[in-house]
Point group: C3
Chain length 301, copies 3
Amino acid sequence: MKHLLTLDNLPRAGLEALLDRAQAFADGADAREALAGVAVCTLFFEPSTRTRLSFQLAAQRLGAYVLNFDASTSSATKGETDLDTFRTIEAMGVRGFVVRHKVDGAVAALAAAAKPGVALLNAGDGRSAHPTQGLLDMLTLRQAKGKDFAKLKVLIVGDVKHSRVARSDLHALRALGAGEIRVCGPASLLPEDGTLQGCVATQDFDAALEGVDAVMMLRIQRERMEDGLIASLDDYHRDYGLTASRLRRAAPDAVVMHPGPMNRGVEITDDVADGPQSLILRQVGNGVAVRMAALEALLGN
Amino acid sequence: MKHLLTLDNLPRAGLEALLDRAQAFADGADAREALAGVAVCTLFFEPSTRTRLSFQLAAQRLGAYVLNFDASTSSATKGETDLDTFRTIEAMGVRGFVVRHKVDGAVAALAAAAKPGVALLNAGDGRSAHPTQGLLDMLTLRQAKGKDFAKLKVLIVGDVKHSRVARSDLHALRALGAGEIRVCGPASLLPEDGTLQGCVATQDFDAALEGVDAVMMLRIQRERMEDGLIASLDDYHRDYGLTASRLRRAAPDAVVMHPGPMNRGVEITDDVADGPQSLILRQVGNGVAVRMAALEALLGN
Amino acid sequence: MKHLLTLDNLPRAGLEALLDRAQAFADGADAREALAGVAVCTLFFEPSTRTRLSFQLAAQRLGAYVLNFDASTSSATKGETDLDTFRTIEAMGVRGFVVRHKVDGAVAALAAAAKPGVALLNAGDGRSAHPTQGLLDMLTLRQAKGKDFAKLKVLIVGDVKHSRVARSDLHALRALGAGEIRVCGPASLLPEDGTLQGCVATQDFDAALEGVDAVMMLRIQRERMEDGLIASLDDYHRDYGLTASRLRRAAPDAVVMHPGPMNRGVEITDDVADGPQSLILRQVGNGVAVRMAALEALLGN
């Protein structure tokens, strides 16, 4: 593995090795010299403070030098192409790049131009992929439900069409052999391409919840309302908001996940978000662990 | 002490222990491994570069990992509640939070929600408290005048009503048993609650200055003029600006302090700010030392 | 050397010693404890992400604590004078300052006020100087052409009048005894003061290129068009854009340099920028090395 661009092409063994190492970090394994002398740059063409902080902390815990370039402010690049911006920082001797971009495939395009020994980690590109989010979701699921995904029924709910989180979760769930993958949302927010291959798709949230072991909620963007893809946030909440009473349709020990930041009262209610079945903050903690594992795998000696 | 939210409830012995340790740091004590492996995040819901830099340097000098989250830019939090923002970063494994907030009590509210082992340091909330500023002011006074505060006459001048600096200074001066505390400013900028308990309050700056050992000037915000609380900056300077001739009313070895940034020519003139009685830059240096002491006390092993 | 403000007053031996040390860093020399315990602050009154990143990485590789103050956003300084901002950070115990400023001489003015033991590195002031750019350009030339500059013909092309890069390059080329220095650009962009002393100046790009060993292109700012100093970017490209066919007029092994960021298709075409004679990315890598050398020389033990 030279870069981490998507989970789509990652074999099950490689994915599980990453999760095993991430679990070790979650358990407190120390590797504070693993990236000693290595420079890592967060290069965000689209802003995201949470993901950036998580990667920064992961890189620091491995002993790396950490730089930050917020390329989303126009003055930062003075009309330079993204490729020139990347090549310039690469030429400084930076070996690891954590890149977020609005455009599908933009991170892969930069990776294709990278010098040998330089690794890119996709921190989210367009609607395509957010592989470390997929990894942290799998680690969280594994901690709660064990390593045998074949017996699991997992439900993903919301704006799957525009969600790189959902796509990376789907890639990983398939690779790990999840028993049943259900996907639920309004027709306008379900993708019509091959994304849902092998999934059971439905618009009926109550039916979809029946007996599932895990409910993975997605953030609904307000822009979807402006785009006419949903009628209103109230309507969305009525049809696709996860409430305590709805959650009772799932398996009694079902777990609830959300990539954050949450729209409380829209896609999820407070009592569910903060309730005993919620793993939402556990996901965040696992984020640092999987990013340490990914950085170490790509850049460690 | 689990958090440092205010100096109001800090016993004299605890306060003096912090000052003693800060003095050791000011004298060059090395503790570069004290927070090794500990992550500290500056979480500013209101911007302040100076205070943030001072805390960042203090945390780095103790060997901590340092993260920065400028939550004052709206896109950073995407409509998340402050509590969710805090809990998310806490879930990453961050153990120390340096928090500034516009709203009184907001930092205490986050501290109440913190997990065991997590410490919050209030870097200024509303008009309530700015405890490390109070500490650094006391350290500066102590260096200049000795540890026996009972023989000191201290004057605080300006917009006490809206000043968290003044409140933390008052808390600390009382705890350390200052001999006499005078407070001076226009009636519109003097608080009417219990803030001035035990102080001598006056609107007459010249009278207030007579024989004091220390003059602590406050920054006047231009907004006070827009709010109609002061007539003009010229008027304010005439009545409450510290000039060299006015300073002669104080004790001959009186010291002058200001939390910065200064409005030169308004609350203080150049010759006083840069004169031999000014400790203003000394205060800044002591700021790093007291923040090291506070971080170590809360987060050290 | 207490500060690095300009290359104008630097003797040849000092300049060559810096380049020798920078070469060692470019070759992988390790000095990760050279600035242990030393705090360095990038203090930019004019934004520049590339130069800031390069200095940050250089300081980190030497083991320094690194702070960043973007003083170009107005709220950061709250109406404070530049001198007060500088003195405040200096009072925190910061010993190294990397300063960029719009105004000629502004960095030197701050340096004149610095305490003993505190060093300023000019990261670009007005049109005056950008000494580390000059150094990295010389290092790059030396790597390509050897240490004997007496046999070199060097051409600088573009907006020399407004360019601190050109001025620092001219200082360094003279100090190192370059055989011939040519300068080329439209009359409106050539300086009329003593800047071009000892240079051959011309408006004819084709003639200027004949037989040169190095072509140093400058970035053309779009503002020059708005100011009426150039007719259009198309016209500028026609007259002063470096194309592959034009480059054939230079010596067969001539090298091409550019300080970045490039306006591709304006002052330089893609095939030249990315071609075999281009040293543009090598320059960027050398930037970290010369900044390490400069920081170590000024702040190391």
